[in-house]
Symmetry: C2
């Protein structure tokens, strides 16, 4: 009887990631509950989205914590970041696209903080001479999100094996396409 809130959010994330216009009725039926019950647990569509964002940001924040971005050199930190983030690639893709349609609403503070932490990693890479200075931290941050999103989709479509995702993103970002670049 008791509605499983986590399960509802999981179903909602799956549907909304695929189609942002999914109706409350569709979400409710996908979760196996009635629209009325869905509204009893989430004040409205906005509340549901917000709950999704918070859960997603919390997961992403934990991943960033585990990556220990301040330790070691920037290259290793970036590798750890990609490794920890990869399991939540789909959620992150949802967040990065959903979060950038702000237009008036306040951007989630947690998201801004995560954005800043990742930018700081790229800046550190610049300062320590590990990353090329002609690519700005802002661009690299956007590029990272873009590659993760592209990777999530490629895995979803079967064009890239899930086991290869981590390596594909990290190597492309760090070393580029060129063959001559060793390790």
């Amino acid at each position: 009887m008791a509605v499983d809130r986590e399960q509802v959010l999981k179903e909602a994330a799956a549907l909304l990631t695929r189609r942002a216009t999914t109706s409350m009725d569709e979400i409710a039926r996908a979760a196996g509950i009635s629209r009325a019950t869905l509204h009893r647990h989430f004040a409205g569509r906005d509340a549901l989205i917000k709950a999704l964002e918070e859960q997603g940001i919390a997961q992403f924040a934990q991943a960033v914590d585990r990556a220990r971005l301040a330790e070691g050199d920037a290259v290793g930190a970036l590798r750890r970041l990609i490794g920890e983030t990869e399991p939540h690639a789909a959620m992150l893709a949802f967040l990065s696209t959903e979060n950038q349609l702000f237009e008036g609403g306040e951007i989630n503070a947690g998201w801004l903080e995560l954005d800043a932490r990742i930018s700081a990693l790229f800046r550190r890479g610049h300062e320590e001479g590990d990353f090329r200075i002609d690519l700005s931290p802002a661009w690299l941050t956007e590029a990272l999100y873009g590659l993760i999103g592209a990777g999530a989709w490629a895995v979803h479509e079967g064009r890239v094996a899930r086991n290869d995702l981590n390596h594909s993103i990290a190597e492309l970002l760090l070393g580029g396409i060129r063959r001559s670049m060793e390790k």
Copy 2:
């Protein structure tokens, strides 16, 4: 007086890429015209989307033609591709995401052909020893789209200068982040 149809479609692509629910009114105002005029040029929302797809694919195809992917080495061809594609970055981002959303219907044949041509370039880079073999053509194609999309949005948001976009995408894709990699 004459409405710049291309410009309208370009703005529409930039907005619809990030938020599929962008209203006709928002698109109209972003393009600097009234909602009435927008409806005079496009029968409706569906017609606008369809026109976007067709024009986008046509422009992208022309860009790919101009890039002469079969000439010279794969590195130069990829640089040309990015250079020719960059002006239509917003449009391309819209196309690649739009092709993700739909399910069941038929994927535009023109898009599939373009996809194949890009993949072929990366495959050539592998065969000629210019590109690393551990990154598959399918992944590199998706990554290219992802980076172009991320770049288009970054420019739209003012986080990257339009003049830097070409260089940012090409260098990241070809050389990666690492500083030690020369040229």
